[in-house]
Amino acid sequence: MSKEKLVEVKNLKTYFYTEEGVVKAVDGVDFEIYPGETLGVVGESGCGKSVTSLSIMRLVESPPGKIEAGEINFKNKDLTKLSNKEMRKIRGNDISMIFQEPMTSLNPVYTIGDQIAEAIMLHKKVKRKEAMRQAVEMLKKVGIPLPEQRVKEYPHQLSGGMRQRVMIAMALSCDPQLLIADEPTTALDVTIQAQILELMNSLKEKYGMAIMMITHDLGVIAEVSDRVAVMYAGKVIEYTDVDTLFEDPKHPYTWGLMNSIPKLDRDVDRLEAIPGSVPSPLNFPDGCKFNTRCPLAEGKCYEVEPDLEEVVKGHKVRCWRYKELEKIKQRGERIYSNGGVLG
């Protein structure tokens, strides 16, 4: 890849200092995003996806949160080192974010027109009237019917899908180079999700921005990503392009995740189930953090944490025994039981 990186996150650590102890929410995250590309970030609840994105935006609540280590290079500036004022400028102009629950980021007492116009005025030197005109224009672009009327409405008058469109309109109004979307469709129905994903794809083509798409849905990941970072317990455990990830997952967790979801186009009698559950971030195990659930874990896995290692060009894996998994896959065997809890 000869293109210049837009974002490079290196060994990011964001901790929360709570009464119960130190929550290592993000504990060594590495990835890159190239201009115009979509990075998918996937992982289970609590693995640190949102905290990673909030860290990039420098919106982690502090205290109790703190970016403990690492770099977030954006166009060759380390965002972790910027002043709050410099960061505000980046947020208004270069990076925007949309959240899972749009109601939390829309102000209920202002019309949506006011809110979008406000965002436009913040970074473009235009008068209110012009900003309002542009707001209507933006709503049209995100496919809201009767935008002249809608600008006068309040958030509660809109459906979930409409609100998410408004959020996207707002996020795009500053022409960002990076759009961070934190589960933008999780709260929506599938037919509405399909509308929003299609919208995001067409806008991406038109505006050429990069997207960081956070989701726990492997289907959405397959649909939108160019490259994927799989997270587990505060770390990226696998990182590669989307085709390779689905064709040749090398981490036992990624493999398990893919086999534990039923597929629409293939019938299996039983699902393979990953045993146990995600460990608490207050109490991660020594060694590899997946060792409490991994059927391949042995000796070293319980003692030393593996690095995120580039094992094939462009394919990084954090596992001591990825070669073992390779052999098992070649033999066409399973690594997870599909016998369920009864045997």
Partner: protein
């Protein structure tokens, strides 16, 4: 020949919408509006549809946790709506429900032994304390939780384990039918498979019948024998699952299936993107309820309601296109 365990005929559940100081009823939410289906003994019927289409209301009305507005529910041929309180309690031994939220549905102040043992007490199924203890132990083992968990409280368990406790509680009275209302939706992806596998095992072992409610079509496809698709209080299509997923005949099912993102980047689906939002169930569209979003709607659709009919081999649907 398969026996019908549960039969639902023309079931309706309307919720009043009240307004003003004297709380006059000004309209009705037509949450479930004239649906009919049956579930055979030992099978799993999946019930899918988008948020608010009436899936949970259907489940609750069948169990009479909500009183129906109209219609008939037959369980082993008995009219559930006509039962008095004590008869209802008795029949609820045979019909159990599992809820979506494994956090909210378990009493945080009860131990696991008491949560699972309570239905045994209600239905007087344990001879004495020791018998109750043994029974609870056995049920917990059935769902993969050892006896060492008996005296713990719900908060000490993970989501998947809590959902197993919910399953154990439902199993305690040895039911015939379990209505599972989104039993895996609140769980982490990697944990869902554990609970799905468990439910399949238990079905085999105890000959259970399931009404499996969910909005995730791939999970429903996996676990069900037949699938019913709901839209705005109506069942629009119902068929054997392979048939339904391979050959959906209702335009709503077709677009719903096309909208699901599949975990395969090589697959480029032909999407049917529906316009607009789901209309309100308070004042649903006239004629066919789907006509406001249907890509194939024609003159008849907004005027006449299509009939829910069998188009061959138990493949039911309600759409005017099919009558042509």
């Amino acid at each position: 020949m398969a026996e019908k365990l549960l039969e639902v005929n023309n079931l309706k559940k309307y919720f009043p919408v009240k307004a003003g100081i004297i709380k006059r009823t000004v309209a009705h939410v037509k949450a479930v509006d004239d649906i009919s289906f049956y579930v055979n003994e030992g099978e799993t019927l999946g019930l899918v549809g988008e948020s608010g289409c009436g899936k949970s209301t259907t489940g609750r009305t069948i169990l009479r946790l909500l009183e129906a507005t109209a219609g008939e529910v037959l369980f082993e041929g008995r009219d559930v709506m006509a039962l008095n309180k004590s008869q209802l309690r008795e029949i609820r031994r045979d019909m159990q429900i599992i809820f979506q939220d494994p956090y909210a549905s378990l009493n945080p102040r009860m131990t696991v032994a008491d949560i699972v043992g309570e239905p045994l007490d209600i239905h007087k199924l344990a001879k004495n304390k020791k018998d109750r203890n043994n029974k609870v132990k056995e049920i917990l083992e059935n769902v993969g939780l050892g006896a060492e968990y008996m005296n713990r409280y719900p908060h000490e368990f993970s989501g998947g384990q809590r959902q197993r406790i919910g399953v154990a509680r439902a199993l305690a009275v040895d039911p015939k039918l379990i209505i599972a209302d989104e039993p895996v939706s609140a769980l982490d992806v990697s944990v869902q498979a554990q609970v799905v596998n468990l439910m399949q095992d238990l079905q085999k072992e105890f000959g259970l019948t399931y009404l499996f409610i969910a909005h995730d079509l791939s999970v429903v496809k996996h676990i069900s024998d037949r699938v019913a698709v709901m839209y705005l209080g109506k069942i629009v299509e119902l068929a054997d699952k392979r048939e339904l997923f391979k050959n959906p005949i209702h335009p709503y099912t077709q677009s719903l299936l096309s909208a699901i993102p599949e975990a395969d980047p090589k697959k480029k689906k032909d999407r049917i993107i529906l316009k607009g939002d789901v209309p309100s169930p308070v004042d649903p569209p006239s004629g066919c309820r789907f006509h406001t979003r249907c890509p194939k709607a024609f003159d008849k659709c907004p005027i006449i309601e299509p009939e829910f009919k069998d188009y061959g081999n138990g493949h039911y649907a309600a759409c005017h296109l099919l009558e042509e």
